[in-house]
Amino acid sequence: MSTEKTQDDVLVVKNLKQYFRVDKKHTVKAVDDVSFSIKRGSTFALVGESGSGKSTIGKSLIRLYDPTEGSILLDGTEIAGPMTKEKKSFLTGRMQMIFQDPMSSLNPRRKVLDIVAEGLDAAHLYHSAAERREKVYDILEKVGLSKEQAERYPHMFSGGQRQRIGIARAMIMEPELIIADECISALDVSTQAQVVNLMREIQEERGLAYLFIAHDLAMAKYIADYVGVIHLGHFVEMGTKEDIFEHPMHPYTKSLLAAVPEPNPRSKNKVVETYDKDALGIDYEKGTKKYVSDTHMVLI
């Protein structure tokens, strides 16, 4: 990544590995030696297809999984390794997550007020019920919901509204970094635009950073400052938005971009080449990271 020191990095990941032991003989290497960093206030889009490991990275970072190996520096503090109470409380105050499925990411049996206040409850961040209520109302307004809606249950809201509740729940902890794990994939097109615009607004206001995990390249291009393309647990290419979308170098990246259908009936017909890494003789484990420029990395 860039060596500029003008903005510091809110997250620095080095050699992260997340392996899952399936049985005595098989280990799934979901994330295999991944390194990247996210600058404060910026958006890093992690794009890949299903099975690429992108969601696993998100879950490893937020410690839903225990990383097999590697270092994760959040705001300069190491959060990989054995989990301690201090680490956990440090983590909850600085990194939060928004989930994919608006239907199941909210407990159907709890009121919105309680759902949004959950983080505050766990960390005892208020002195009275009134204070708790105020904080929730504040955040609900910020995400475009009214305080009357705090008394309702999730099933009374639309998918887009539920995602807003999820955003409110994450934001109330005032994190520096939010991991958005495919948080718009399950929404309608026009609702996606609403939620993404809200996320951008919040970012501008609060200087939040996002790790935006997605498979939708067009949306990633719209929202991201930096992009990492992941395939089979490895970063095959990483760089700024321009690097990746205007000057893609890795054959996998090129195949992904070529496959995205353009909403233009007269666009030039892109040749859809199948990316077959074995046929091309590519082995990610033996590859080396080559820096084409200060910001642009390709795995060769």
Binding site: S190, T191, H215, A218, P265
Partner: protein, 359 residues
């Protein structure tokens, strides 16, 4: 509704279709007076978001209806060859038995969104693929098996014999969808209804499956109804487009009409809400609010509350049909106005850029 000089005759004509669901919360008016025509050999795309009624309409054609679903009004006229002559009949009037025997699987086939639930996880591919063939084409087990192998090869499965023995869980998403397509075309249908067939697939797999559907269509002169919310997909495969919102069609036209000269404010909103890889947008325009709950019949135009261009009459009466050209129609009160309402500036810029990038 003419399409153009080279269009083949109409094979399916849906007229004033009204469908409702009886739910615990009340009567849901999912489809509120929908007309569209499908011509032979063409791909008709029906575009809309959730609640638009696109899936419900198409499923009614394929005869997939829930227990609490009711066709309130309308007809679906199907034109086909019967004993040497061309007949047109309303398939909604067919008895259930007749529909099962003559139409579904045989003349009208469907490809669904989720290949995992479209295939029975407990049966081998062979069983599922040959079932329809044996029933509708009356072939023996051996003959059906051969036909099955041919079909799998046609849809791009590299080892058909192996695949026949496998179970759905052993196949990837893309392969499963190919099998579903194979099953769909196995009995030489005339009409293929695809309900978001690539939404659950990765983008590279999606591209291949779309290619496959296109080639199948050309080869067998299939008439395809393609339901989707993805404008990129629509641009690539549609010959004609119907845009639906809240149970009604709001605009219809050729891809050129819809993408380069859209006239309905919902179409404008939809196009602007999609980030385009080739245009650097500063802000994504969003349609504020959410689609209406169709438990109540909306008064006037359903889109009016979210429509920044709404006229007072939009809240009172449903908009009339306006014919803009030979191919292009829109349901809008704006067309009655003397002064033409222009599309938003952002959209105009985007369209200009699209035309620049065009071939």
């Amino acid at each position: 509704m003419e399409r153009g000089k080279d269009t083949q005759p109409a094979v399916l004509q849906v007229e004033n279709l009204r469908i409702s669901f009886q739910t615990t919360a009340g009567k849901l008016r999912a489809v509120r007076g929908v007309d569209f025509t499908l011509h032979k050999g063409e791909t008709l795309a029906i575009v809309g978001e959730s609640g638009s009624g696109k899936s419900v309409s198409a499923r009614a054609i394929a005869g997939m209806m829930s227990e609490n679903e009711k066709i309130e009004e309308g007809s679906i006229l199907y034109t086909y060859e019967k004993d040497g002559s061309t007949v047109t009949e309303d398939i909604l009037k067919f008895s259930r038995k007749r529909r099962a025997k003559e139409l579904y699987g045989k003349k009208i086939a469907m490809v669904f969104q989720d290949p995992m639930t479209a295939l029975n996880p407990l049966l081998t591919i062979e069983t599922q693929l040959t079932e329809g063939i044996r029933k509708h084409l009356s072939l023996s087990k051996k003959e059906a098996y051969q036909r099955g192998l041919e079909l799998l090869a046609e849809v791009g499965i590299t080892e058909p014999a192996l695949c026949m023995k496998q179970y759905p869980y052993q196949l990837s998403g893309g392969m499963r969808q190919r099998v579903v397509i194979a099953i769909a075309i196995s009995c030489h249908p005339e009409i293929l209804i695809c309900d978001e067939p690539t939404t659950a697939l990765d983008v590279t797999v999606q591209a291949k499956i779309l290619e496959l559907i296109k080639s199948m269509q050309k080869k067998y002169n299939l008439s395809v109804i393609f339901i989707t919310h993805d404008l990129g997909v629509v641009a690539g495969i549609a010959d004609y487009i119907n845009v639906m919102y809240a149970g009604k069609v709001v605009e219809r036209g050729t891809p050129d009409d819809i993408f380069f000269h859209p006239r309905h404010p919902y179409t404008w909103g939809l196009m602007l809400a999609v980030p385009d890889m080739n245009t650097a947008d500063d802000r994504l325009y969003t349609i504020p609010g959410a689609p209406p709950s169709l438990l109540e019949e909306p008064v006037g135009e359903a889109f009016a509350p979210r429509n920044p261009y709404a006229l007072p009459v939009d809240f009172e009466k449903e908009a009339p049909l306006c014919r803009l050209s030979e191919t292009h129609e829109v349901y809008s009160w704006l067309e009655q106005e003397e002064k033409k309402t222009e599309m938003p500036e952002a959209l105009r810029k985007r369209i200009a850029k699209m035309l620049e990038n065009a071939v």
